[in-house]
């Protein structure tokens, strides 16, 4: 117990988790926006936009997140001089958010698309019969139902995002959990099991409420047909 308290006093473990939560929150916001845009493109009658969205999703679904993160730092930042801020730490943070958002948007699009598939054909037919245009029927009839139908896969995607935020270590974000764990183990090799347990249970504690919330929401929001 004293060992535990000493470790918690010496290192800012909660702060590291906060960094991961921040990474997750920003990436969730941006990937949701980009994912909805991709979805609209994917279901639109315009073939060039459909193709673009499809290529995007296929590309990021089959690409390791690690290589995207490494690319953000060593390619986009070091070679192409893509910068968000003058401070190094802030800059790496936003580069990591960019990488995570680009990657997760593909999965958000796929989750929402699976939700669209649960909307019965009759809904679209009825909205067309009422004379709604594509944008009107998509935004007022189809997408609201699709969102409600895709709570479960979306929740899964965001839980994966929280876990993936540890990969920000590859984008040189030094204050997040996996980097901190690595440092702590380096200096306190004897309490390696305790250190791993602290971080592992931190994630279990973070993820269980999201899982329960997703279950509740998906049961509450699902359209019973």
């Amino acid at each position: 117990m004293s060992e535990f308290l000493q470790l918690m006093g010496e290192y800012d473990v909660l702060g590291a988790f906060l960094v991961n939560i921040e990474l997750t929150a920003w990436s969730a916001l941006f990937s949701l926006l980009l994912g909805v845009l991709l979805l609209m493109m994917r279901i639109s009658p315009v073939s060039s936009l459909r193709g673009l969205s499809r290529v995007y999703v296929e590309f990021f679904k089959n690409m390791p997140l690690t290589i995207i993160m490494v690319f953000m730092v060593l390619g986009a930042f070091a070679q192409l001089k893509l910068t968000f801020s003058d401070t190094f730490a802030k800059n790496f943070f936003w580069l990591a958010v960019t990488g995570l958002s680009l990657y997760t948007a593909a999965f958000v699009c796929e989750s929402l698309r699976s939700g669209i598939n649960t909307v019965p054909l009759g809904q679209a037919e009825a909205s067309r019969a009422l004379g709604l245009s594509f944008m009107q029927s998509a935004s007022q009839i189809i997408l609201p139902q699709a969102f409600r139908g895709s709570v479960a896969p979306l929740g899964n995607t965001f839980i994966a995002l929280l876990k993936n935020s540890t990969v920000a270590a590859a984008a040189s974000v030094a204050t997040e959990t996996s980097s901190l764990m690595s440092t702590m183990i380096e200096y306190h090799a004897n309490s390696i099991l305790l250190i791993f347990a602290i971080f592992a249970f931190g994630y279990v504690i973070l993820i269980i409420p999201i899982g329960i919330l997703t279950t509740m929401l998906s049961n509450k929001l699902a359209v019973r047909r």
Partner: protein, 387 residues
């Protein structure tokens, strides 16, 4: 692709002349925007502020020549594939043991496997890899990073496979279990000889999808100094100061391998559907979450909806009987809650389960079977009752 056309036609009619003109116009604008984006990217590559021209052939040549392949990419790819294969075999074993453990009637075994599986699903793979890497290094094991990568992947993906086994069994029609219990098998026997073998066929496509995840996750190994494809391309890039170029080449290799595996996962279901009574469909998003809400296969639900005669009202069974949190134990109660009273069989219409499953019949039998089904189906009234 078939599903694509079906989806797009869901939202709009075949356009008339005016609509076609409009679409043509937007198409051109869209194409121009895409072209503009590509040009912008090339401009940035050509002339980054305060940097070198990244399109210079002098930078690309060392990233593409024969030596780069033989000395860096191919050994790296081999390391990636080696770790993936060992991890896949290990996670199938892990998944079968704990997936079946979670289904056994013994409460203790069930609880233990449940805790292990949920724990391994919640902890980020990178955390496990770093932990094992340091741990093995302290224990003095050779090639610690290799075993750390393999073990980390086995624990995470094994727990996903365990959930796939469980969802495969949960998705089987209740009749399979009833029939085997009626034949005098015990619960465990029915599980091992009837249900699990079918569940394995049903989960194969999803397992191949998981293979893509394994292959992608081996790239995490580069963080713990495992010399996989990503690490090798970084090393090559730091030799010639062309890391952007070598990363692009590595990305292309990763993409090609993963994309081929994804195609395999899409091709498998129709093969496997003949051998099982459960759904053999890969999920668009692999089951990831701890305590996830059932991982219902939304694509299968959508297909059901599309195939109904009136184009709607498909899911008569509660979601609880689908997906990885499905339980086959409480089906009778759920059915009752959904409006089917077993004690009044005459006044009730039996809700039909899993209409999506069509066993392959020769053509000359088909009309007869269809006629029977339509008569039993009963028409509109049953749709209301079935809810």
């Amino acid at each position: 692709m078939n599903s694509d056309t079906q989806q797009t036609s869901l939202l709009f009619d075949a356009p008339g002349p005016k609509g076609r003109r409009k679409i043509f116009f937007i198409n051109i604008v869209g194409a121009l925007v895409i072209a503009g984006l590509i040009v912008m990217m090339l401009m940035r590559l050509h002339n980054p502020p305060g940097g070198d021209n990244q399109l210079d052939w002098e930078l690309w040549r060392p990233a593409l020549d024969g030596e780069a392949w033989t000395d860096f990419y191919l050994p790296g790819l081999w390391m990636t594939i080696k770790a993936s294969i060992v991890a896949v075999v290990g996670s199938v074993v892990f998944g079968l043991v704990f997936g079946i453990g979670r289904l056994l009637p013994n409460v203790f075994l069930k609880a233990v496997s449940g805790v292990i599986v949920e724990f391994c699903r919640a902890v980020p793979v990178l955390m496990m890899m770093i932990f094992f890497w340091r741990f093995f290094a302290f224990a003095g094991i050779e090639s610690a990073s290799y075993w750390a990568v393999v073990l980390g992947l086995i624990l995470y993906n094994g727990s996903v496979v365990a959930e796939l086994v469980r969802s495969g069994v949960g998705n089987l029609p209740g009749g399979q279990r009833e029939a085997s219990v009626a034949l005098g098998l015990t619960q465990t026997q029915s599980l091992m000889t009837i249900e699990v073998p079918q569940a394995i066929y049903a989960m194969l496509p999803a397992a191949v999808t998981q293979l893509v995840v394994v292959l992608k996750d081996t790239a995490l190994g580069s963080i713990i100094m495992y010399t996989d494809l990503l690490q090798e391309s970084r090393r090559l890039g730091s030799m010639y100061f062309n890391i952007l170029q070598t990363l692009v080449v590595a990305a292309v290799v990763y993409f090609v391998v993963c994309w081929l595996l994804s195609r395999l996962a899409e091709w498998l279901p129709e093969r496997m559907q003949k051998r099982t009574a459960a759904f053999a469909e890969p999920d668009p998003v692999a089951p990831i979450a701890i305590l996830d809400p059932s991982n219902v296969n939304q694509m299968a639900v959508a297909k059901e909806v599309g195939e109904k005669r009136y184009g709607g009202a498909a899911r008569r069974y509660h979601v609880r009987h689908r997906g990885s949190n499905a339980t086959i134990r409480g089906w009778r109660l759920d059915r009752y809650r959904q409006g089917y009273d077993v004690s009044q069989p005459d006044s009730q219409v039996e809700p039909q389960q899993f209409e999506i499953i069509r066993f392959e019949l020769p053509d000359f039998i088909k009309p007869k079977v269809d006629a029977n089904r339509n008569r039993d189906d009963g028409g509109d009234g049953e749709d209301v009752k079935g809810r």
